[in-house]
Amino acid sequence: MISKTFEERFDLVIDTISIKKNYWNDLWRYRELFFFLAWRDILVRYKQTVIGLAWSVIRPFLTMIVFTVIFGNLAKLPSGDVPYPILVFSAMLPWQFFSTSFSDASNSLIGNSNMLTKVYFPRMIIPASSVIVNMVDFFISFVILIGMMFWYRFIPPISILVLPVFFLQVFLISLGAGFYVAAVNVKYRDFKYIVPFIVNFGMIISPVGFSSSVVNEKWRLLYSMNPMVGVIDGFRWAITGDQSQIFLPGLFLSFGIMIVLILIGIWYFRKMERTFADLI
């Protein structure tokens, strides 16, 4: 009993068990570091470029033009009443966010290895802040979308109010996948080469350049195993109001996979985190 009261006087106990208990408190205590790291990455990204921040407008805009030309004009995919560029752009928003967050997060720990071996802070901050950085790009792209709506005189339906839900979904998917791939990349550097492949391949199998309604009804549930299908369909539905986009079982499946991803991501990251400093 005496030893117990003695230990209670300490603020921090470092051993193989107690560290876990402090973790979430520490994450809160270091909340400012999220924004400092994100802020650093945003500041640094366009340093020594001539047009600076304009790049984050030009990049998604150019991709949109390429997509419109290839899928809309050459492949002549149907787009209904909705202007094709808007159809593409509403899908590109979540996809760009996911793919850049995912690949940034995968390199984030290795890129900051110096910090990992010299200072303590909850390591989750690093991949999480690289996802936050991409939120800024997401919002810039969103402004472009609004501009396009004005250009095409397109009035968004009431369903656009649901958009934050789908944004939260893509945010959590990116975070979960980001945690996982960041942690696994510390141990197995092979993932450095696998990640670009996943991103490229994912773009082709996700309904970015086409509508997922072109997929045969039979296969649609299987197709929805890709959680980004549900997200992209949700974005399209919210922005264009096109009911045919939404496939409810697929949407639920996508939410389910999101929950699994974020739980596995956190679990694996926490499990690996204790060895980061020794492995990196």
């Binding site: 106990v13 560290i19 650093r40 340093k47 910090m115 802070f121 550097r189």
Partner: protein, 411 residues
Amino acid sequence: MSIVIRVEHLGKKYLIRHQQKESYTALRDVIAEKTKKIFSVNGKSDKNTIASKEKREEFWALKDINFDVNQGDRIGVIGRNGAGKSTLLKVLSRITEPTEGRISIRGRIASLLEVGTGFHPELTGRENIFLNGAILGMHRWEIKKKFDEIVDFSGVEKFLDTPVKRYSSGMYVRLAFAVAAHLETEILVVDEVLAVGDSEFQSKCLGKMQDISRDQGRTILFVSHNMAAISKLCNKGILLNKGTITENSSVDEVIDQYISTNYQSEFYSIGNKDANKDVYFEKIFLSRDKKNTSNSFSLSDDILCLFEINGNKTVKDSTLTFIVRDKNLNPIFSEHYIFSGCKNLLMATIPNGMLLPGRYYLQSMLHVPNVRFLDNNEEYISFAIEETGSKNSIYTVDLGFVNIPVKWEKV
């Protein structure tokens, strides 16, 4: 005095892999092993292959460490390279987890294992102050409050809005230390950070650290190879050797112990150590008469340093350098001699009356200056000049180490 840190049975184990150079596992190998497991019929061969391929070896960087730290203590952690000092600091600052044991800490702890962690070369000085402060665990209002003080201490106010990649390395270090020095935690863990910057700045850092500990009553754990800095700053010491504590008492005793166990050899001899280097020391010893080893000299003795050099290959521009260090291992002077051939017996004479009474250490190395390192004596050779009536013998304070033949005149 209340205890602020209690360390009990602390141990940290590393697994060393012998053949693989990378610290990370390649997915390739794991897949290969797993596949082998599937295809191997008897299912036991895979264990042997992994063992033969990797040869994992356990290595305890720290083993059964126990100590208490009282509030306001300034503890110097001393030990040779590889004694476990850095591992201890890393475990204390929660960078890596202990394998066993427990550390209990009261109060906020901050660690400074490097200055300028997270500094980004593209960001300006001002931006880096905020970033680095946040990484070290300061809140934004704290940094804002201290901002002027930090800038003032670093002395780079003119360049606050210049990217730090344009800074000179001295400015960079000054700014980095300035941020760290303004951390306001009850416990501060510091590793070798004073080993950077010019000497003026080093003494400024040391002064700041003394400020922090003495006047503000904060607790400091300080690792350094600089015995002078340790003895100046700390009141207690911990001596680590091969992962265990060998001495834990006042700082002077610990320094004495460290120096006597690590540097007190009377002569150096290669013995039966592996001698396949190109050029190496066969034997080093000090003498009065070129033949017999001697480690204590009077003021009137010439100190003869004899270096027996051997080798397998002639190295161009091979140089012998020796450094004479004082009792705190600070260098006093050094000499360089370029020689040719590999088999040599060299003798350097330190003329009598030059070194004042006290304890000294001789460190020697063979190298091609700035190109190649050849050999050194790991344990310094210690020698003493006995007090036989020097000009300083009537004083009790420390009056220096060397006697310069100064000329006096009445003009």
